[in-house]
């Protein structure tokens, strides 16, 4: 069975250690979120999973056939039209020009891009459009593992919700595995089955300190459910500690005060 497996990975840049003893698995069709404060090594971990850098120690095994990435910035090629940017991965796979243009156009229209935007260059399009193109570029290659590095963090809440819906629809219908990095807890609750909390207190190397699972199918996660569970997460001692929030003592989470 295809699976991404990270085994006791430690990562150093020079003398500074950024990740220590990271273990994680992403199974086929599973959606996992990595949350944590800025600078805890989330992006480094994702780059390791994408194969962009080799781990200092430990091993990373990916049994997935095709991995696609959406980065924090859209990272579109400025000299290519929106359509050619979407088709980039297909071109890399050797798909004939006519076919990849047709496929990219179809996908783009389904993702809410207007037909005449597709001939434009990235700088002529809004940030939201650029994010959409970056997402479409990843979908175009029909990946079985999607790596997402805070791809929605710069978008307004309306756009965010729209792209969330596109992602969920795509990933659930195709059973694509998703590993996403985010610092937005609500996003993690909405989009993942498992949340891994990373923490790097006071310049110590980042590690996974806690995790939680959500069984409810994505289709049944309405706003009320998402708000409720996000609030619960926020009341959890480990989460508050990782994000350096002051501990709270409310009636139903009173015990957590000691844990923090």
């Amino acid at each position: 069975m295809s699976m991404l497996e990270v085994r006791t990975v430690t990562q150093r840049y020079g003398v500074s250690e950024v990740l220590r003893d990271i273990d994680l698995q992403v199974r086929a069709g599973e959606s996992v979120a990595l949350v944590g404060p800025s600078g805890c090594g989330k992006t480094t971990l994702l780059n390791l999973c994408a194969g962009l850098l080799p781990p200092t120690t430990g091993g990373i095994n990916s049994g997935f056939e095709r991995t696609a990435c959406v980065f924090q910035q859209p990272r579109l090629l400025p000299w290519k039209s929106a359509l050619d940017n979407i088709a980039l991965g297909l071109k890399a796979l050797g798909t004939p020009a006519g076919e990849r243009a047709r496929h990219a156009r179809e996908l783009a229209l389904r993702m809410g891009l207007a037909g005449d935007d597709l001939d434009k260059y990235p700088h002529q399009l809004s940030g939201g459009m650029q994010s959409r193109i970056a997402l479409a570029r990843a979908f175009a290659v029909a990946p079985d593992l999607l790596l997402l590095d805070e791809p929605f963090s710069a978008l307004d809440i309306g756009l965010k919700a729209e792209l969330h819906a596109l992602l969920l629809e795509y990933a659930t219908t195709r059973r694509t595995a998703v590993l996403m990095v985010t610092h937005d807890l609500m996003e993690a609750v909405r989009l993942s089955q498992r949340i891994l909390l990373m923490s790097a207190p006071e310049h110590a190397p980042g590690r996974i300190v806690w995790q939680v699972e959500f069984d409810r199918p994505f289709a049944r996660r309405d706003d009320a459910w998402v708000y409720h569970n996000t609030a619960q997460l926020l009341a959890t001692a480990q989460v508050r500690h990782a994000f350096s929030l002051a501990p709270v003592a409310s009636p139903d989470t009173g015990g957590l005060y000691r844990a923090a």
């Binding site: 780059n47 994408a50 194969g51 962009l52 991995t67 696609a68 990435c69 980065f71 910035q73 990272r75 090629l77 400025p78 000299w79 290519k80 980039l88 991965g89 071109k91 890399a92 796979l93 260059y121 700088h123 002529q124 570029r137 290659v141 790596l147």
Partner: protein
């Protein structure tokens, strides 16, 4: 092929947009006319006078061989410098050590007056084509080298990483990710080098050869024939403007179409 077609189709609209450039050139001619009236025809002959002399030179068939000789030398040196400068500059730009090592050398090359190179070239190659060609090459080379190096140094690692994740093969990496970026640094350097190559070629000919526009200028100087001098200068300028605005500039527009709206 696509580029060639786009170039041909674009010419009419492009020429129409050239009226502004025409107007500013004509203003220069007006200034020239005014100068000739103030200082007299011996110092600065009127534009009409220079153009008539040029027309005579062309009609008598005397102009073409000289212009062809100059063009041959300028363009040979130019071609050699853009090939060597681009290739070596790109290679140097890819390595931090190489670019740090080559920068002072290139600065020295840039700072050396072309006339010094010309004297050396005369000693090494004697009178003949090799002297102006070498002088053009050595004067243009650092310019192109610096442009190419800058282009390679500023390659975007984020875009490269993105391409790596999407499994872009090596060849496509070059054509789709690296080259479009590098070209935007190379083209301005090539354009600057082109203007330089004509100037240097004429200067080198003045001292080293018996044919070419430079040699013709030497003759007109000894005859105190200022009309012929201005005629030759006009001829070289026209050729330069022709090559730059009919060939390089449209090419640049086509290749950098993706930048267009940034400027406006």
């Amino acid at each position: 092929m696509k580029l060639l077609r786009a170039w041909l189709v674009g010419i009419p609209a492009y020429l129409w947009s050239g009226w502004g450039a025409m107007a500013s050139l004509l203003m220069l001619v007006a200034l020239w006319e005014w100068g000739s009236q103030v200082f007299g025809a011996l110092v600065l002959p009127a534009p009409v006078e220079a153009l008539r002399t040029l027309a005579e030179l062309i009609a008598s068939g005397a102009a073409w061989p000289e212009l062809a000789a100059t063009a041959r030398r300028a363009l040979t040196g130019y071609a050699a410098s853009i090939i060597a400068g681009s290739v070596l500059g790109l290679i140097a730009g890819l390595s931090v050590t190489a670019s740090m090592t080559s920068r002072p050398i290139v600065t020295v090359l840039m700072g050396t007056p072309p006339i010094a190179w010309l004297v050396l070239a005369l000693l090494w190659f004697g009178a003949g084509d090799a002297t102006p060609v070498f002088t053009v090459f050595i004067a243009c080379f650092p310019l192109v080298f610096l442009g190419a190096m800058q282009g390679a140094r500023t390659l975007d690692n984020q875009l490269r990483d993105m391409a790596v994740v999407f499994g872009v093969p090596r060849r496509m990496m070059l054509t789709d990710v690296y080259l479009p970026h590098v070209i935007s640094y190379l083209l301005p350097a090539w354009t600057a080098a082109l203007g330089m190559s004509w100037k240097i070629a004429v200067m080198a000919e003045l001292l080293s050869t018996s044919d070419g526009v430079g040699a013709a200028l030497a003759v007109s100087r000894s005859h105190l024939d200022s009309a012929a001098t201005m005629a030759w200068i006009t001829a070289v300028m026209t050729l330069l403007l022709g090559v730059e605005y009919l060939l390089l500039e449209p090419l640049k527009r086509e290749v950098e179409r993706w930048r267009d709206q940034v400027a406006t």
